[in-house]
Every structure is written in C-alpha cells, then in structure tokens.
Amino acid sequence: MNDLTTLVDWSRAQFALTAMYHWLFVPLTLGLSVIVAIMESIYFKNRDPRWLATTKFWMTIFGINFAMGVATGIILEFEFGTNWSNYSWFVGDIFGAPLAIEGLLAFFMEATFIAVMFFGWKKVSPRFHLASTWLTAIGASLSALWILVANSWMQYPVGMEFNPDDMRNVMNDFWALVLSPVAINKFFHSVLSGWTLAGVFVIGVSAWMLLKKRNVAMAVRSIKVAGWVGIAGILATLATGDGSAKVVSEVQPMKLAAMEGLYKGSCGQAIVGVGILNPDKQVGDDQEPYIFDISIPYGLSVLAEGDPDAFVPGVEDILAGIELTPEGDTIKGDSYAQRIERGKAAHDALRRFDVAKSQGDENAMQQARADLDKDFKYFGYGYFDSPQEAVPDIPMTFYSFHIMVILGGYFLLFYIVVLLLVYKKRNFVERNKWLHYIAIISIPLVWICSEAGWVVAEVGRQPWVIEGLMPARAAISNIPASSVIVTFTLFAVIFTGLLIAEISIMTKYISRKSQENID
C-alpha cells in the first residue's frame, strides 16, 4: 500500500468517524426540538403546569444531547480544510457558500435562542420564550438544510463550470444547487428521519417510566406527542426514501446497483428483500451474487423507474457504459475504460493549457481549452488506472441499505401500533408491557437505522468526493498519514469518552428525575 493510499484511507476513516459520531446526536436534536416546541406550545395554550414540567424534562435531555452535537460538528466543517484541502480549492467556490450561509442563517439563530430557551424562563415573556424554542428548532432544521444542500451537490454537481485559469470549478447557478432534486429529497429524508428517531427515543424512555410506574401521566402525554411527530416523520421518510431511490437511479446508478448487490441488470428487475451476498463474488466473474435471497419480482424496476418492465443496470452494465436516459431508455454510452481514457485526455489538455498560458500562447490556449471542454465531464476518471477503482464497497452498501429499509418498515408498524394502543386501549399502562419492552429495545434500533442510511449515502458514492469530477485520492491534503492516524485516535478517544459521559448523564437524569413527582 503506497503512502497516498494510506493517507486517503485514514482521512476517509477520520471523516467517517467524526460524521458518524456527529449523526448520533443531530437527528435527536432535529426531532426532539420539535417535540419540545410542541409541548411548550400546549403549555402556552392551556397553562397547565404539568405540561410545563413535561416540557422542561425533555428540554434538559435536549440540552445534554445538543452539546455533543455541537462538539462533534465543529470538526466536520474544518476537516474539509485540514484533511481535504485540494477539495477545498477545487470546488470551494461552490461548496463554501452553503457552509457560510448555514452559519449566518442557522447557527446564530440556534446559538442565540437556545440560550433564551434554557435561561429565559423567568427573564422573558412566555410568548418570547415559546418563540425562542421554536426558533431553536427552526434553526436546527435550517442548518441541516444548508449542509445537506452542500452534501447533495457533492453527489450531483450542478450549477457550475470549470475555470482552467484557476484550476477550479466556479458556481454559475446558485438556485440549481439549492433546488436540485437530490438536495430536496435529502433534506426532507434526513430531517424527517430525525423526527422518527426522536419519537422512538421519547416513546422508549417513556415506556421505561411506565414499566417502573413512575410519572405515568407524563409518560403517556409524552408518548402521544412523540407518536404523532414520529408517524409524520416515518411516513415522510419512507416517501422521500422512495423519491431518493428514483433520483439515485438517475444520477448515481452505480450506487443503486451497489445498494442491491446487482452485478448484471435486466428488465423487470426484482428487488432483494432479505439476502446474503456471496463474499467471493467479484466484478466480471460468473459466480452467483447471493448465497441466499428472498426477492420481490419487478421490485427494483418499480422502485427505480416506477415501471415494472424497466431495465435497471447492474455494476457490470454500468462499467460497460450502459446508461439510462431520463426518459428511461437504455443506451450504450462511454464505458468506464473509455471514460478513464477521456479523463486522462482532459488532464493532458489542462496541462497544455497551463503551459500555453505561461508562454502567453493564445492559440495553444484556445486549442487546449476546446479539448478540455470536450472531455471535462470525465475529468475525475483520469485519476483511475482501471474501471474497478470506480466501484464502491458493495457488501457495506448492500447490507446498510437493507438494514435501513427493513428497520424503516418496522418503525412504521411500531408507530401505528403505539398510537392505536395509547389512544384506543384501556389500561394501556398495565396491559401492554410487551410493547413497553419493544419500545425500549427500539431505541438502539432506530440509531442503527439512521446511521445505516448515511452509510448507504456515503459509502455508496465512493470513490467520488464529487461525482465524476474528483475521487477521494485527488481531494487530499499534503500531510503525513501518521498525523492523520494520531488525530483519528485522538478523536476516537475523546468522542468515545464524551459519549460515555453523555449516556451516563442522560440515564442518571432520567432515572433520578423520574423518581420525583414531576407532575
């Protein structure tokens, strides 16, 4: 393994570590802020001190979680510079804007009003306090919007052109970034999955209180609010998940193929409901891709194209250049081998442009520019030596996708059952202990589901940091791999240590506070 590969692998590992830690806390912030704001709204309307107590109980938990989200988030923003400095220049003109807007529009809002939310109970009017709680929730969702716009742009780069003078991409259409179908789907899918997660968390903790017979009335109240927020969240998450699959099929077909472990596609392609991949399977060989699978006929064609007879290409089809047009027709485009060739031609043209510019040779510059424009769409492929380098980790993407989908379906059922029982069934507290246990067990499951979603999104788009334009290996900083190994270890130790403290504080708080008569 050469130095560059080691550096890239450790830099990816560090980014994955910090991103996954960050995402442990963000969805709970997104969902719990809304749940708390609804609870306070009810209190504002009825002035019932029991609702005030309920609001404050969950608000304290929100605060403990929020601190960890902030701690892990700052690293992510600056890691684009520290570990991916080439990336920061190559597309900083486009990518930096949503990050700055996120700070200006969202972070200040969150930081300002969260202070009022926690310390303002006796210092500001109830109306201003309620507004602050909602503005904290809105600020959290706004920050998610802008970072997801940025992330979506990496998966589907639009609204830009290449500037050979500066050797970077520059923005030419801001609204194309913000309103790209990937961004819209990703925003709703991610934020509303946070509602799903927070709902399960609140119901799980409340179920524990019911089992312990502590503050039963507050627990039931909390389950009702969390149940409605959660079911709205899971329905919207499933709907946008379906939308995401269609968009992925169009703009990242390789990711979709990896999600399904699909090597050779067909018309009327089935979708694997449950399956185990053949670990010996390699791209291009004749082995069966699955050891075991239960598939739904026509499922993938419907999911990807909305047409049971549609063709869905597999990894090998895509490498061979088989593409789908936006209309759903199959065409033979450039194979990945040809793309690599054209990518290298684009590199050569840019090199010639640079030399001609330094010599002041206008004609040579124009010629090089024309050659560059012809092949630029495959610029990123020029960094590869073989088509296989452009294939993501199929097992990780496949299993993450299926875990996410199966758990997503489970949570829809979970919310339906919880809401039906909490409203319809008498003696909900005494007679449904099985459900309380399930609710508690569901807490870790919802985090697994949520993290799996991001693994699909991020592992499935490898090796690209910007789809088609820049692979991870070209985005890197010039630092020794040993430095990244040290910082990876530092972050792993610090984040783990702080996570232990956070879980300990939360469980202690829930345990202690629930023993008081909160109502």
Binding site: A67, M68, D93, G96, A100, L104, H347, S483, T487, E502
Partner: protein
C-alpha cells in the same frame, strides 16, 4: 475599482468584522482560564453561569468565521488548514472540549467530575486565545508553504499546497506569533474580568475582578505595545499585478507604510486603543464602573479590524509565504469567483437582522445581573 475588486474588498471587510467579533467574544475563553483560580465554589458558579450564556455565541462566531473564510477566500482555507494541520487541530480540540463542558460539568453521572470539565474549559481558554492569536500572527509574519495548482494533475501526489514538515508547530514556536497569541490571552482575561463586573451582582466578585483587570490589563498593554513595535518595524511584501500577472517585492516597514497610506486604518486603530485604555483606567480608578466591557469590547473590535486591513489591503499579501513569495495569498488571488461573491453578498443583507436579534436576546438575558441567590435556585444552570 472594478466590481470584482470591490467584492473582494467587501468580503475582506466582512472577514475583518467577523474576526473582530470573535476576538471580542474571546472574553468567554479568557474567563474560562480564571475558573480554576476562583476563591470558592459559589464564585466559580457565578462566573461559569455568566460565561455560559455566551459560550455558544463565541463558538458560533468561530464557526461562521471559518465558513465565511471558506466561502470568500477558499484558497486560504485550502492552504492554511491543510498545511498548518496541528495548529488548527489543537484549536479545534479545545473547542470540542468546551462544547460539552458547560452542560456536563455539574450534571450528576458526568463520569469525570466537575473539576475535569472545568479543566477542559481552562484548556480551551488558553489554547483558544493563544493559538488563534498565533494563526492571525501568520497573516503578518508569514507561513512556511508553497503553492502549485498544477500539482492537481499529478495522480501520485495531487496536493496543490505543501507545508514545512512540522505542519503548523513551527508557527506556534515563532516568538512573534506567540507574542500576539499571549497578548490575546491577557486581553481576553482582562475583558472577562470586566464582563464579570458587568454581569455579576456581588461585592466580593467585584473586588476580585477589579484586581484581575489591573493585572491582566497591565500585562496585555505591555505585550500589545511590544507587538505593535514588532509589527511596525516588520518587512512585508508588496504585490503588483500587471496584465493578470503578480509580482511580489520585499518592502521594509510594510505595515507601518500601510498605516501611513491608509490613514483611516490608523485612525480606527488609535480610536480602538484609546477606548481599551479608557476602559482599563476607568475600571481601575472609578468605583463601581461596570461598563468597561463595552468600551473595551468596541475598542478591541476596532483594533482587530484595522489589523486585518493592514494585513490585506494596499497591495499586501495577507498570507505571505516564507518559502516562496510568489505562493503568497492575496485578497485578489485567493478569493471566490465574482458570481459566488455576489451571491454571498446578497446573503449578507440579513446581517443587520441577525445582529438585532442577538442584541435583543443579549439584553433580555443580561438585564438582571447574576446573584448568589440565583445560584441556589432550581432554574437551569451550569
């Protein structure tokens, strides 16, 4: 001035304002360095809770400062963060520790104990102030990097910027950078003491903090005067752009010359210094003077802005390369495109609104000072 240059200057101005806000808000970090030395738990609690209502603001300002720099001058983000790796990582680690410490320090079950989290706050206070000062010091005294954008096409080693093998540690041990860093630390401590006087209603606290203003302010003034002397006698580069090609020429007393050429920057510097000195002297000599933080804060902001201006305006590379002058970063060669700067400039229309709600929330929360009684109430506190 062409529109593009105007946009670049506007964004450098905004960066200077954000930098000024950040240095002012570093009083939070300065205050954190004073917690372990508090006389008793009550005094420490009042100090923590006074700072705790503002820590998210200083933290967020740092994040926005970074984001705005990325959006407006992405080449700096690329070169500095990827090169001075250890300098920035140490700064970030301190802020990671800060982010949890307020919330966790007094919570039961926090595993490591209150003192550990107070120590984390102290670490963030010291590292944050000194190392951010060091980072700004490199704007004047240079950094050890080279820049070759053509490296992007080298598939074996594609990084466009190379740094000395110490990756930022050399900037930390440079005495000129450290001088600014330590000056920032004592400025932050002086302002923290003024902030405590302003927000805590307790006579014992007042006496302690007044003495802290005297000592920390005195050290700061000495360090800052030394820094100014070093800066005004320092050499720098003058960049000239002819037909799109930049040439860098070493110039003696470059920053002194900048102050002479840009009289308005000098005026802002002097007004800022006067305000800080007024706050310092008045807090010491006038009994129960509680508004020092505002005079000093505004003064600090003006001084920081003027320093950013002489660092980047008047044909000055704001990030001089010590290894290859031609690699130096200027406002002109490191900025985003005209389109992006225009889009971002439209977004800045919202800034007055943001400032207004921050000011209103600040006023609402600080209207009543913190008292010893409040520390024993059931209200949310750190």
């Amino acid at each position: 001035m062409e529109t593009y240059e105007l946009l670049q200057s506007y964004w450098w101005l905004l960066i200077s304002i954000l930098g000024a806000a950040l240095v002012f808000l570093l009083f939070v970090q300065g205050g954190q360095t004073m917690l372990l030395g508090a006389r008793n738990d009550l005094q420490r609690s009042m100090m923590v809770n006074s700072l705790g209502r503002k820590w998210e603001l200083s933290f967020t300002t740092l994040v926005v400062f970074g984001g705005a720099f990325f959006a407006s001058f992405p080449l700096f983000y690329s070169v500095s963060f990827g090169g001075a790796y250890w300098l920035w990582i140490l700064i970030l680690l301190g802020f990671v520790l800060q982010a949890v410490s307020y919330e966790f320090r007094k919570k039961s079950g926090n595993v490591y104990g209150t003192r550990t989290f107070d120590t984390f706050l102290c670490i963030n206070g010291v590292l944050g102030c000194i190392l951010l000062g060091v980072a700004v010091g490199t704007f004047f005294f240079g950094a050890e990097f080279t820049l070759h954008k053509g490296n992007l096409l080298d598939t074996g080693a594609p990084a466009i910027a190379s740094w000395s093998s110490t990756h930022g540690l050399e900037a930390i041990v440079c005495w000129k950078n450290l001088l600014l860093g330590v000056a920032v630390l004592f400025l932050a401590r002086m302002q923290a003491a003024m902030y405590f006087i302003n927000t805590i209603d307790d006579i014992n606290n007042y006496k302690v903090q007044r003495k802290a203003v005297l000592v920390n302010g005195g050290v700061f003034v000495l360090l800052f005067v030394t820094f100014l002397a070093v800066l005004l006698t320092a050499d720098g580069y003058q960049v000239t752009v002819i037909d799109g090609k930049e040439t860098f020429e070493a110039v003696p007393y470059k920053y002194l010359q900048n102050f002479v050429d840009m009289w308005w920057a000098l005026a802002v510097l002097l007004i800022g210094v006067a305000l800080v000195l007024y706050a310092y002297v008045t807090t010491i000599f006038r009994d129960h003077f509680r508004c020092g933080i505002w005079y000093s804060g505004i003064g600090t902001a003006l001084v920081v802005m003027s320093l950013f201006w002489v660092a980047g305006f008047n044909g000055t590379p704001y990030y001089p390369s010590l290894l290859d002058p031609a690699s130096s970063l200027t406002i002109g060669n490191s900025s985003s495109s005209p389109f992006t700067l225009t889009v971002m400039s439209w977004v800045t229309v919202i800034i007055p609104f943001v400032v207004a709600y921050i000011a209103y929330a600040w006023y609402s929360l600080n209207r009543e000072p913190i008292t010893p009684d409040e520390m024993s109430s059931d209200d949310h506190k750190y």
